[in-house]
């Protein structure tokens, strides 16, 4: 109503509002040529900002990265001065121990953070899916780690893992474990850094799973209960398979995020040159390796190569994930059959 009167004061309002079916031709004509152009072409204007800005700051750098990766390109290079080297950068890194070390670190931390995270998130979601008092508060409580900043999380956890006065070594000490220098070894860095990622993302994923669980029709559980299936069995043989699309979604998102891990290991490492991930590169991830080429060595062409290798790594893992989660399908089919029988 307000819209009508504010935009078209010159039209007698009663006339149109009174009629049940306003004449379609009249306003069209009154809008004229401009109006028709507006309807026909203005949509392109509305979507243009996305395509223009993405083209400049997304697509173009992407293509240019591919080009740079084929050159020996340093900080002062231009298109004219850079030397074309073909796939030399790629083959060099594929034979480079330090690169593979960063790949291993990244994959290890990705697995150590993603797998426990998804299992914990499923369990939490299952608990949140019950009839609860203080539902919103509990949901907010598990989501709160996601709202903190990466740097803050990393700093606090790094302190918790401190060798001399970290809380974790203190607790372990109560059980007679000698203080561990968490940042000194690969495995312990992986544990520490994965725990940061887990802490930050478990609650978020739990809410996503919860949403999916709520959309599962409850009558299939009813029939399963009548058949005598325990709650635990129902969870694993019905809930989890039914969540397959969501699990795929979450693992793919976690893969893309997990393989790009950067802020946490960087701050955890600290020290003289954090980009290296410690004196033995214990916690150097692929993105840190990329930054080493880019920001320490100013080898822009090689940094671009690492960017593409990282992208390929993400693609490979997305495919593996997809194939792996697809294997849940047979179980899903069974659950659907059961539902069909009931209906």
């Amino acid at each position: 109503m307000t819209v009508q009167s504010s935009t078209r004061p010159e039209v007698a309002p009663g006339q149109r509002r009174g009629g049940s079916k306003p004449p379609t031709e009249q306003p069209q004509r009154s809008r004229g040529v401009l109006g028709r152009l507006d309807v026909k072409y203005s949509p392109y204007l509305y979507i243009a900002p996305f395509f223009v800005l993405f083209g400049v700051f997304g697509l173009w750098p992407l293509i240019y990265t591919l080009r740079m990766s084929l050159y020996d390109w340093d900080l002062g290079s231009t298109v004219e001065t850079a030397k074309f080297v073909g796939f030399d950068n790629f083959t060099m890194f594929l034979g480079d121990e330090d690169f593979w070390n960063s790949v291993v670190n990244t994959i290890a931390m990705f697995l150590m953070s993603t797998i426990p995270q998804l299992i914990l998130a499923l369990i939490l979601a299952n608990a949140l899916n019950k009839r609860l008092r203080g539902r919103t508060l509990l949901r907010m409580g598990v989501l709160i780690p996601n709202i903190t900043s990466v740097a803050a999380v990393s700093i606090v956890f790094t302190q918790l893992y401190n060798r001399d006065f970290g809380l974790i070594n203190w607790v372990l000490g109560l059980f007679g474990v000698d203080p561990i220098e968490w940042s000194a070894h690969s495995w312990s860095s992986w544990v520490a850094i994965s725990s940061m990622v887990d802490w930050r993302w478990t609650g978020y994923n739990a809410l996503i799973f919860l949403a999916a669980m709520q959309s599962i029709p409850r009558d299939i559980y009813e029939s399963a209960s009548i058949d005598g299936a325990s709650a635990w069995r129902q969870f694993w043989t019905m809930t989890v398979p039914m969540l397959r699309p969501t699990i795929i979604f979450v693992t793919i998102i976690s893969t893309i995020g997990g393989l790009q891990l950067y802020g946490e290991p960087l701050l955890f490492t600290g020290g003289g040159n954090p980009l290296l991930g410690g004196s033995d590169r214990q916690s150097q991830t692929v993105t840190m390796f990329l930054m080493e080429q880019f920001y320490m060595k100013f080898e822009l062409g090689r940094a671009a190569t690492v960017a593409w290798l990282l992208f390929i790594l993400i693609m490979i893992f997305s495919v593996i994930n997809f194939l792996f989660t697809r294997s849940l399908r047979s179980a899903d089919g069974k659950a659907k059959q059961r539902k069909a029988v009931k209906l």
Binding site: G203, L267, F294
Partner: protein, 304 residues
């Protein structure tokens, strides 16, 4: 009956169908009953979630020797003022500049992302034009490309345009979001009825006026969620600001924190006061909009 219904329903109001079943009771009913174990699990999860934040608060409010105490301190002290003073007086961390910069960047990016996304989302959901589906598909594909793939040329670009070390360098690349457009399109196609748009057009509204006066108000819940996510993402952004803002005098809050933690590693109470201040704005947003944020995450999950 109403009381139980409110307590027990899912996100949506309980349907009559569900209520009937509940009355039926039986084995399935017990499945949704929260056992003590459920509460123990959830409370443990909440405690674990809160603990690092609480610990941060404790250390930030104490003197520096608190960090070495055994058993570790569990109650806040009264030193927060002194710690913050030291933090703000620390020129090499430029914490205040970082805080202000982050607030500016996150706000500007959020406003633009929301505006551009809702405009494009409206066009894709409600307007007919040639190539609509193909263009939408293109946007979906852009969502799958990790942004850091392009950082090397992006850096050169900023350098050439003389934008490096300046805030526009970390604002410009993030003004549009494929995810935002997708989310707005999904929401607009469901929440804004076609009749409303037709009516506005009948009244001679231009397409943009229709968007501004009719569509935008209808998108408000989705805008709130997209805005909050974008703000948090920008506030937390790390890799690109580190590259683009090499100048230590002009950092974002995350970069200040990094410098603090690496340069002043022995003054824990100062560093933790910094982390606390960097988290407070987000926590305030979370406390005010927590319900919407949770709704947004869950709704997005179902649609995806």
């Amino acid at each position: 009956m109403t009381a139980t219904a409110v307590r027990t329903g899912g996100a949506a109001a309980p349907t009559p169908d569900r209520r009937r079943r509940r009355k039926g009771g039986g084995a399935a009913e017990r499945l949704w009953q929260a056992s003590p174990l459920t509460y123990v699990t959830l409370l443990a999860a909440v405690a674990l979630s809160m603990f690092p934040l609480y610990y941060m608060f404790v250390i930030a409010t104490r003197t520096n020797d608190a960090i070495g105490q055994t058993p570790p301190p569990v109650t806040p002290g009264g030193q927060i003022g002194g710690n913050i003073d030291r933090l703000l007086g620390n020129d090499s961390a430029a914490f205040m500049t970082g805080l202000v910069n982050s607030a500016i960047v996150a706000t500007v990016v959020t406003v633009f992302v929301v505006f551009f996304s809702s405009l494009a989302g409206f066009a894709f959901a409600k307007l007919r034009f040639k190539g609509r589906n193909g263009l939408m598909l293109a946007i979906l594909i852009t969502m799958m490309v990790p942004t850091q793939l392009g950082i090397v040329p992006l850096y050169q670009m900023m350098y050439e345009w003389d934008l490096h070390n300046k805030l526009p360098s970390i604002i410009l690349p993030f003004l549009v979001s494929g995810f935002g457009v997708f989310m707005m399109r999904q929401y607009a196609s469901q929440a804004v009825p076609d009749e409303l748009i037709e009516a506005a057009r009948m009244d001679g509204c231009s397409v943009f006026r229709t968007y501004w006066n009719v569509v935008l108000p209808g998108l408000r819940p989705a805008i709130a969620v997209l805005g909050l996510f974008t703000f948090m993402e920008q506030w937390n952004s790390f890799l690109w600001p580190q590259i683009a803002l090499g100048d230590p005098e002009n950092p974002t809050v995350q970069l200040s924190l990094q410098r603090l933690s690496q340069g002043y590693y022995n003054d824990y109470s100062q560093v933790f006061a910094g982390t606390l201040l960097s988290v407070v704005p987000l926590l305030v947003i979370f406390i005010i909009f927590g319900r919407q944020i949770i709704g947004g995450i869950m709704e997005g999950a179902v649609k995806a």
